[in-house]
Structures are given as structure tokens and as C-alpha cells.
Symmetry: C5
């Protein structure tokens, strides 16, 4: 039974040893058990949770603990590493850019067994093709190592997938900096806010991821060899680095809010300067014109021959004086724009 919006499970098994490799689509789940052999490593990749019976069947075949199965299916869980009797479950968060440059997040559950690794994800598509290519290379390091190294490679590839996303966010922040300075529209602020929320969300993925990798390194477990623990330290450092960059971008986006608000304040200032300049020049002149528009019988100036040109000269003088005053104040020339 497949729910709406959910996708039908696709099961794919890559089985490899030092010398040979098979990569097949599994239709009949009962075949799976036969693929796993004591001298090869099998990566079973399950994408799509639409048909819960498939997942349940996998759970039965591999004797997955019910709690582990719940964490796999009820997405999103917090990234973590949990030890079960003869399996380790690592919940990771895969982050990628879709074709519209939108950030996509999806849970990938990595279940590590003695000779196999099972990955579960709800939707189709992942960032692991690079890894699959590496497995196909006959002489590659991964072909000589155990399931723990495969699990490390999967987790490491997922964590490395954060970098392009973070770079894209960094570029977007730089663009936004220009936007908020030059045209601080509400739209820009909204975008800035979205980026900030995205960063907060990313942090929520990255920090527990780091803890999860750390617990893989520290906690006793026969499934993870000491050699792979050294490799995982590298993954840990990449998580830490990612977390720091995310933090840095969050601070930068907070700084952009200040720039935005100050841009708006500068705009207001600009508007007000225009008003003030216009009003301050013309209101006094209008007053002067108003004076000689009065109808008093006894206004001697009205009858003087040179009154009118003299008034014009006075007006021009005042207008120039005000303009000079504003020029001195630096209100002309739009230097604050």
C-alpha cells in the first residue's frame, strides 16, 4: 500500500570484494539474504518509504531492532549514532541543492552490519553517485576494506555534500549585501530572513551530526575498527568546520539586517532632505511674495519704481544663501545615498 506523495521503494544492492563487483536492482526481497556473503561487502540502498511492508520485511530479514526501524521510518529524526546488539544505526541529514538552487534536506539512515551497510531514505536521489563510482574502480581503497569503511565513506560523502550548499549560501549572502545597500526593499529583508532561517536549520542538522560522528569514534563497538575511527576523525573535523561556517554566516546575516535598517534610515534621510531643501528655500520666498500681495492702502514700497526688481534680487540672494547653507551641510550631492 502506497500513501499519497510517498514513493514506491526501490531497492538496489551493490556487492563487492577485492576482485569483483555486482550492482543489481532487487525486486524480490527474499533474494537479499543470498547476496550477502562472508567475504564481500554489500551495500543495500533503499529509497522510498511508500510501501511500509517492504521496510518491515527488510527489518525482519536483518533483525533490525524495532526502535531502530522506527527511527528509520519516522523522518526526520535528530542525527545520532545508536549501538544495537550487532548493528549500528547512524541517522544522518543529507543536504543538497535542487535544480532551482533551493536547499533540500533529507534523512539518510545508515545501518551498519558485519558484512553489509543498508541506507534508507524517503525520497529518490542522493549525493552518493561519486562514491558509487569510486567503488566501481577496481583498485580503490574502499574495495579492500570492510563494511565500516563503506559506512564511513557514505557518511563522509554526505557531510562533504554540505560544502557546495554552504558555498551557495555564502554567495547568496554576498548578493544580498549589495541588494540591501542599494535597494533595501522589504523583499530583500524577507529573503535575508529566509536565508537566516535556512542557516538555523542547517545548524540543527550539522551540530548533532558532529555529535553522532563523535560518538561513533568514542564509543566501544566491535563493528567500527580503529583504522576507520581515524578516518571518522576527519569527518568529525569537516562537521566542525561546516558548523563554524554556518555560525559565521548567521552572524553575517545578522549584520546585514543592521545594514538594511541603516539603508532604510538613510533613504528616509534622503527623502527628508529633499523636502527640507525645497520647503526651506521656497517658504520664505512665498512669504515675501505674500507680503506684497497685501492690499493695504498705505504700503509705500508698492509704488517705488525699483521695488519689484529689488525684491527679485533679495529673493535670489536668499535662495542662493539657503542653497549654500545646505551645500555646506553636505545635504546636496546625495553623499549619503
Amino acid at each position: 500500500m502506497i500513501g499519497e506523495g510517498a514513493v514506491e521503494p526501490k531497492v538496489r544492492a551493490i556487492n563487492y570484494g577485492k576482485s569483483k563487483i555486482t550492482d543489481q536492482k532487487i525486486v524480490d526481497l527474499n533474494q537479499i539474504k543470498a547476496i550477502i556473503k562472508p567475504d564481500t561487502i554489500t551495500w543495500i540502498d533503499i529509497q522510498g518509504f511508500g510501501d511500509t511492508s517492504t521496510i518491515q520485511q527488510i527489518g525482519d530479514i536483518f533483525a533490525i531492532h524495532p526502535l531502530a526501524l522506527e527511527d528509520i521510518v519516522n523522518v526526520p529524526q535528530r542525527p545520532k549514532a545508536e549501538n544495537y546488539e550487532d548493528q549500528v544505526l547512524v541517522i544522518t541529514r543529507m543536504v543538497s541543492l535542487d535544480p532551482n538552487k533551493q536547499v533540500q534536506m533529507e534523512q539518510v539512515a545508515v545501518l551498519i552490519g558485519k558484512q553489509y551497510v543498508i541506507t534508507f531514505q524517503e525520497q529518490y536521489g542522493d549525493v552518493l553517485d561519486r562514491l558509487r563510482d569510486r567503488i566501481r574502480v577496481a583498485d580503490s581503497r574502499i574495495r579492500k576494506k570492510g563494511s565500516d569503511y563503506l559506512a564511513y565513506a557514505i557518511i563522509d560523502t554526505i557531510v562533504d555534500g554540505y560544502y557546495p550548499v554552504i558555498d551557495a549560501l555564502g554567495d547568496h549572502l554576498e548578493e544580498l549585501e549589495n541588494t540591501v545597500m542599494e535597494s533595501p526593499s522589504n523583499q530583500a529583508l524577507r529573503e535575508l530572513n529566509e536565508t537566516k532561517n535556512l542557516l538555523v536549520n542547517l545548524r540543527r542538522a550539522v551540530w548533532p551530526q558532529r555529535e553522532a560522528v563523535n560518538s561513533l569514534i568514542r564509543e566501544e563497538n566491535v563493528l567500527i575498527s580503529d583504522e576507520v575511527r581515524i578516518y571518522l576523525r576527519d569527518t568529525y573535523d569537516h562537521c566542525a568546520q561546516t558548523a563554524e561556517v554556518v555560525e559565521m554566516y548567521r552572524e553575517m546575516s545578522s549584520g546585514l539586517v543592521s545594514i538594511y535598517l541603516s539603508s532604510i534610515a538613510n533613504r528616509s534621510n534622503d527623502v527628508m532632505k529633499v523636502l527640507t531643501i525645497m520647503a526651506s528655500i521656497f517658504i520664505p520666498l512665498t512669504f515675501m511674495a505674500g507680503i506684497y500681495g497685501m492690499n493695504f492702502e498705505h504700503m509705500p514700497e508698492l509704488h517705488f519704481r525699483w521695488s519689484y526688481p529689488i525684491l527679485w534680487m533679495a529673493m535670489v540672494t536668499i535662495a542662493c544663501g539657503m542653497t549654500y547653507f545646505f551645500y555646506r551641510k553636505g545635504w546636496l550631492g546625495g553623499q549619503a545615498q
Copy 2:
């Protein structure tokens, strides 16, 4: 004796084993002891603290430590887990939405004994009906486990009850984002502030809850089996996840305050632009009209045939010039709105 606003205690006992289940309302407290049997699990659910003698009687029957009893009755306590000689008291905070979508918080004290779990809450109504249904299912996992699993199920159900509340708050924040951008009234800010305070309050419930679950997992105690501790790790992760989402929403609501303030600043800008445009266009024109309203005897222009139409043309030119100036500045068209 029942105080004002307090509600009369209702006592309900669910007793179950692998094969049978009874669910009864207890009126005579002396019956309780008889219900508890060594081979079944009993969940005694007490709602309403109106009659302190009932609570006291329960305390006497189950030999509850006076401090535990105080923590149960004096609500709200901080969520915590306390070990007593042969009982564990877990103080939890139940969060739910009432029919008006208002967030309700209430303390639920969970007292774990060898064959029984007692829950205490001050008001009627809880989020545990889903759990009661699960108990009624004949073959369910809970029917095969001990009182510690029941306690875990209760706590887990309470913690899971946070999700819908948090989702509702997330939806509300999204609505608020639109509101503060489109009509940034004080009312919107007030609502935003209330949501923020609510989130701070929720955090106060969630963080110690997490600690409480953690101490249940870590601290030595014969009442909690190792198997249930594994289940509690899951509850712990859910607490952690909830806490992170609450934190994220708090940051988002802080971001909304920035948006709000900038919306108001944009409004001011808008108002000022209208003023500046109107004033800058008409004040010079009024000045020109004022000039030719003067009553000087010697104003040659007054007597020219085409003065009036020429002046009109000058005025229209100036008005168009100013309008073009404002258009170039981008002040027309309300792009900042």
C-alpha cells in the same frame, strides 16, 4: 474539602496482563490495594487535586515520600526525575492545544512502583488516550512489559504531544511573518511577543524534561530495566529535537521583530515620500503664483498679453520636471511598499 477553581479528584485504574485487562473508575480508595497484583501492571490515573485528603490517602496507601507528595501537589514543579527507596517520581510537563488553539501546560507527575504507575494531574483531560487504546490492543508490546515500560510509554506520549503544539506555533509564526510585512500594527507585534514568550515558556518545559529523561537513563535504579532505558534514549532524542525546534522558532521570532521594525520604517518612508512629492511640486508653483499676486505698481509682466499662458507653461514644465526627478529616484510606484 474542595477549594475554588479546584476540581474533585477522579481516580481511574487500568489493570492489565498479557491476557486480560480491566479499566475501572475507583470511588473507594481502599479498593486500590486489592487491584495491584504481582503478575499484572496497574496504571492508576488521578485527575483533580480539589480534595487534598484523597491525595493524602493515596500517599499513605503507597507509602509515598512526603517530599514526593509535595512535588506532586505543589504545581508547577520543574520537570525532574527523583529516586526514592522503591519508587521513582518523574515530574513531566504536558503541553496541549485547547479548542481555541491556545497552548495549555499542565504538570503530570508519574510515580513508578514495582507493579504500578500512578499519574497525577491537577485538571481533567490529558493527551494519553492514544496510549490507553494501545493498551487495550490484546497483543500489543506494552501488554508484555513491566511498569517501567508503561511509565516510558506515558512519558513518551506526553513528549510526543509537544509536536502538534510546536507545529501550530510554527504555522502561527509564518502567518505572523506575512502580517508584520503587510500590516505591521502594534497588535501584530503584541501577538509576536506573546508567541515569543510562549516559546520561552515551552523551552522552560522542554529542557528540564530532557534532563529528567537523561537522569532516568543514566542513574542506577532497579525499577528501570536496561531494555526500557534503550527506549528512553528515543524519548530523550525527541526532547532534544523539540528543544532545538523551540530554539529555532525563538530565533525566527526575533528575526520577525526586525522585519516588523523595518516594515514600520518603510511605512514612515512611504508617508514622507508622499509629503515630499506633494510639497516639492506645489510649493515652488505656489511661490510663482504668489509673485504675480503682488501689487507692485511697476511689474511689467502683469501687462504682457502672453504672461499668463507662459507662466502656466513654466509651471507645468516645473511640475513635470519634479515628477520626473522623483520618478528617477524611484519614489513613485511605491516599490518600497
Copy 3:
């Protein structure tokens, strides 16, 4: 010798056992030693540090460590618990409301010995009367326990004394929220700031208090029995709860500053809207009146019969048009007020 502003020491001793209790004012300090008996508990309560010789004498009689004595007398010290050879000194901060609803803070030093507890405070008056009443009750729990329980009861009562103060601050914050929204005067901000500073001050009292209680619980010490440590856990939780509420109120008061600033911005907006509406309606009209106030010889309109009423109609049309424009913008009706 009594300094200015300092008050003369008053010494009061409550001595109690299971069956009897005495409560006396001590005038001659040499009597004190006689009051303390191996089978009763004595609470010596010293209020007022005006006469340093009294304190010194107490120090000599009970062999108080010079550092302890310094911490007792040089107020305020940071709340803490210090173990000395056969005494424990707990520095606590008592918080209360004076009759003018002003928050008062005062150090209470609690010195715990084998059969006695000595409390020191600089000024008269405390929040412990409730406790004294409980001691007087013949059958109360406190009468059956040792000096460590008495010390616990004193510290617990002091910590419980924080609640009414915090409640009062919460009420005050709610009032302030209304004030800053409806009349955001500088006075309101000042009050808000004072409340905030008070909360910061309270936090400084509460956090170390919590640590102090914690070190009483954790550190090895023969004077504090395991049973009382269980009780102290409760006090610890109350400290933690208080600290959390204080933190929450601090965040709320920060939120109020945002509301305040936005209220002021809204007011500005309101003022500017009035200006803009008035100016935008009347400046064009004044311009039109100015046109026909000109004295050109050749202005045909001046001589038309219906010019004047037509102009009026044009003016009314423009005024209505502008009003409608402002109405559409939502600037009428003061919705942002």
C-alpha cells in the same frame, strides 16, 4: 561602638527538642553557651551588625574560623557554602518586598554546627516567621530532626521567599507591557530598565545560591545527613526554577524594549501622517487659489461668470480625491495607533 546607619545587634535564641521549646532574647552573650545542649537544637538569630564586638564575641564562643567571620560581616558576599572543621557556613541572599513594593535584598549567613544553627543578618526583619511558627507546633517534623534539617528549613524558606518577589515583578512587567504600547514615555522605558536591572541583580543572587545548595548536597560533610540532602535537592530545584523564571522575565523585558521602540516609531508615523494629509490636501488647493490671486491683466478666467463656483468644485474634488487616496492607503482611522 555602633556606626551610623548600622543597627545594634539583637540576639534571639530558640531552643527546642521533641517535647519542649524555649524562645528567648539574649542580652548577656555568656548565657549562650549554656543554652546549647546535646539533646536539643538551638537556633541563634543575630540581627544587626552595629556593634562589632558582639559579632566578635559570638565568633570566639563558637570558635568560628576568621575567614567565615569575615564573610559573615563583610556584606554582601556571593552566596556559597563553605566547609570548616566542624561547621558549615552557607551564605544566602534573602529577597523580599518592602511595604512600598520595592525589592529588598539582604545577606543571611547560616552557620551550621552540631547542635545549633546561627543566622546572621545586617538589618532587622526577615522572612522566617513562618518557619518559627512551624517550630512552635509541637508535633512538627522539624522538632524531630537535627540542626541540619533546621538549616535546610531556613535556606528553603529563604528561597521560597523569592517566589512572591518574582510574581510581583511578573505583574509589573505585564503592566509595563500595556504602558509601553499605549503611552511609550521615556518614564516607562526608565521603569522598564530598572526592572531589567533588578532582574539581573536577582539572577546574581539566585544562580550562586543554586550552586551553594548543590555543593551542600554533593560535598562530603558529617554535619549534613543523607536524609537532609534529599530535602536539599528540593531546594535546589526551587533555585533552578527561580533562576529560569528570572531568565524568562529578562527576555520578556528585552522584548518590551522592542515593543517600546516600535510604539515610538508608530507614534512618529502617526504624527507624520497627520502632517502629510493636511499638507497634501491643502497645498495644492492653496496653489490653485494663488493662481487666481495673480494680477495679470489678461486672465480670461477671472471674468467668466462661473469661474468661482467651478473652481470650488474642482477644489472639493481634489480634496475628496486626496482623502480617498489616503483612505485607501489606510492612513485614516489611525489603525496603526
Copy 4:
């Protein structure tokens, strides 16, 4: 060789035992070794680093580790406590007010040896005269204790020297609060900012100081006796208290920035209210006057006998109406000033 701005070293040695004390200025450094005796304590106080050879010579005489010597001379180092073979180096930061109420900070390095303590500081002048007086008192506690107690006394006196500085800053903040509310000039903000920076600087001195004292208490070291560790706990508490007050003042100064900004916003409001009131009253009146300044031939009102007084009445009515409107809005009376 003495560099510019650097001051010539002054060396002073106070040597004391239970019964006697000598206090001498050392000119010939070779004398120093002779002063130190197994049954007395010697405090060598070196002020001025102008002549590096002196410091080097001291380093050679007392076999000071080269790293310790570097930390002593290259000021400012971060406050810390370092154990060397048979010496302990404590870097402290002395804070004091100069006669102009400016805050001065200077590093004092305290080198603790078995029978001696050496203090190094770059400039002349310290806050330790009170301590020197206490040493001179024949029966004082310090005379009966070892070099560790002397070191404690020096560090404690330096830490106690923070209190008057912090009090002065608190007073200054209170003054600033009045200033920013009543005349929020840029100058006030600048001062506020300086005070804030000073507080940040102080925090940088106080926090590591606390850590340094703590490591003195915790780390194993034969030079520091258990008794002195008890005394150092007190110093630790004073550091903690100072750190808390500094934090509190920093928060208060941040609050003052809000007050400042709101004061400025209130001022703007005030300015705008005056403009709006003047413009809103007189612009309509000017329009009315403009109407009857028009020169239409057919304006019946112009010829009515009572037109002029009626118009005046209308104008007065409008002016009063507007004034009443503004009064109702609360814009008159400057309540927001």
C-alpha cells in the same frame, strides 16, 4: 640601558619574621641573596622594567625559568598561575583609578618561592600600601605565616582593588543614564561606548584572574599550604563576584544604548510634532485667506458686509479645533519630552 617611556627599576625588600621586620631599598642586587633567610619571609618588590639587565640579574639569582621571565617582562600577559620546579608564577592584573578618575591597568607578576615572594611591575605605584602597613603591625596574622600567605595577601589585595574601580564605573553609568535621557548627544553615546569597552576590558582581566586563583587552589603544589588554599577560596569568590558585577554593568550599559536611541527617537517625535501642529493649523487657514485673495470678478462673498469677520470667526474656530484635536492626541504639553 633604559628605553624611552620605560622607568628605571626600583627594588625594595621587606623582610619579616614573627618578631622583627626590615624594609630597605636595594641598590646592589648582590645583597638580595643575603637578605633571604630560612626563618623569615622576604618580599622583593621590583617596579620599573627600564633596565632589562636588572630583571635578568634577578632571574639569574633566583634561577627563574626563562619562560617565566618572559611572561614577567612581556606585558601584558593573560592572568594565569604556572608551576615551575620550585617556584609558582602568578600573573595578575592590577586595576586602579588614577587622580583623573581614569582606569589604569597594569600587570603584577607574583613569583612565589620557599621563603620569598617577588613582585614585578612595569610602572611605579601600586595598591599594596595597605598590605605593607598590615605587615608592619607586630602581631598581625601575616607575620606568623609563610610566603604562600604573603602571596595570597598580595593577590587578595590586588583583587580587592577592583571594587573601588567597579563602584566608580557603576556611579558613572548612573550619571550616564541621566545624561542619555535628558540630553542624548553623540558625546554621551561615545562616553557610554567607552565605558562599555572598559567593562569588556575589565572582564578580560577578571575572568582569567579567577581561573588563575582556581588553579592555585586545585593544582598540587608543595609551595601552597592547605590553609592558604582555604584563604584563596575567598579570593576566588571575590573574583567571581567582581566578574558578575562587571557582567551586570555590561548589560546595564547595553540597556542604556536602547534608552539613548529611544531618547533620540523621542526628540525626533517632538520636532515633528511641532512641525505638524504649526503646519496643520496654518496651512488650511492660509488656504482660506488665499481663496479670498483671488481676483474673480464674480465672487459674491467679497462684497458682503460681514464676510471678513465671519471668515475670521471660521478661522479661529478651525484653529481651535485643530488645537483641541492635537491636545486630545496628547501632542501638546510635551509629555514625551
Copy 5:
């Protein structure tokens, strides 16, 4: 193969013992192995990653762990210290000022072996010339110590290289403070924001650097002698101090944003004051002139002999009154500028 923008590797080897020193440019990498001798220390300095085969060859010669090699080449890594079998890799971040006073950051990887230290950096140029000079001095401390001391000296010199950069940033912040107060242009804010981002970036370099040095001190490793660990404590303190100063500057730059915003608000205030003063003085006067420009037949004042001069007097009085009013309000004289 050399990529675009990448630079060709330059390899330089300094080999020294107590008595002799050689410093040579390595062209043929096969020579390297011969240089390293059991009784001397060799510092191999590789600058430029343009030719990956060189790096790979170095990796092969010295048997560098593939993960270590990846961390060396894939810049920038997070500063850290990693123990490999017989090597320690320390990733450091070198910070320097280029000739245009721009801050440059570059990763320097320090690989410590038994008798050698290899440093890797991507671009040419470093801050280590001072160190090379010290090595050349025949009798210097560094000549008598092992490779661990050389590594310490390199790391310490890199950390000391932070100080001039931080000082330059401090100077720049002080300049910016003046700029934002006197001419708060958007440009100034942009610069301020850049400085802030730079500080955030610096913090990202400094904090993990501190952790890296700390793990060198704490973690067991035969390559690092106890003596060098004491020296590294000093480097650790310098990292801590740098981190604190960076934090302080970040707070200061946040304070500058407040100053900037308040400067802009003050400017707005200033603009509005000019507008208000001009409008408030001339609008009433214009109204008065408008009154007597009306053409009512019956306006007795028009015919009075002294009307005109009386009106002038009234106008002057009003203008003076308004001016005095503004003077009293402190709006003249630009005190808020």
C-alpha cells in the same frame, strides 16, 4: 602538472645541529632523505602546491598517512593536531598583513617527525623569517633542542604573527569610530561590517588553534617532550589572549553599529529641525500676509494708516518668539550634530 593560479612547489631544507647549519634549495627530491641525519634537525619547508606529484613524492618519502596528506593539500582545514604512528600533524592558520594592509590567511601544515619538521603552505611567503634568523645564531636555544622545539618555535611564531594583525584591526576600529560619528555614510557601515566579518573569520582561526595547541600539550606522544610542553603552554596562553582580544573587538564593532545608527538618527533629527524651524516661522507669517491679500470690500484694517508697519511689527515679534522658542528647546546651535 601545474594548475592555474597554483604555484610551483619550492622546497627548502634547513639542517642544523649544535655546531653547524646548512640552508639549501632542494631541486631533486631524492636528495632529501640524505639530508636527514640522526644527530641534526632538518626543517623542510615546502611552499606551493601547484605540482601535486611533488607533494605526493614527499608523502611517499616520509611515509605520511594518506589522511594527513589530504589534510595538508585540501586547504583550508580546521586547525588541529593529529597523532599518527611516528608523526604529528599540526594544522595551523597563518595570518598576516599584505602590503595593502589587507589581512591574508593561509594554512601552514606542520608535520613533526623524529629528526625533522616539514612545513607545507600553498602560496609563497610566510612570517617565519624571524625564526630562520634565530636558527642561524650559533648559540641560540633552538640549536640545542630537538625537532619538537623547532615545531613549537614555528607554531609560536605563527601565533605571534596574529598580534600585528589584531593591532591593525584595533587601529582600524578606532578610525571607524570617528568616521561613523562624523560622517555616517553607508560606506562606513560597509567597512565596519567587513571588519566584523574579518574578526569572525579570525576567531574561526584562533579558537581551534588554541584547541590544537592544547591537545599537543595534553595528549600522550613520544615526539613532544615534557620540556616543550611547558613552552607550548605559553603558546596556548597567547592563543587564548588573541581569542579574547578578537572577541573584545567584535563587541566593540557591534557597539559601533549602534553609534552609526544613532548618528544617522541624529542627522535625521538635524534635517527635521531645519525644516521645522523654517516652516514654523514662515507659515504663520505667510498666513498673515495672506489675510491682508484678501479682496473683501469691507476690511477696515486695509485703510488704516499704520496697518502695514504694525503688521510688520507683529510679524517680527512672532518670528522672534518662535526663534526664542526653538532656542529654548535647544534646536538652534546644532548641539546634537
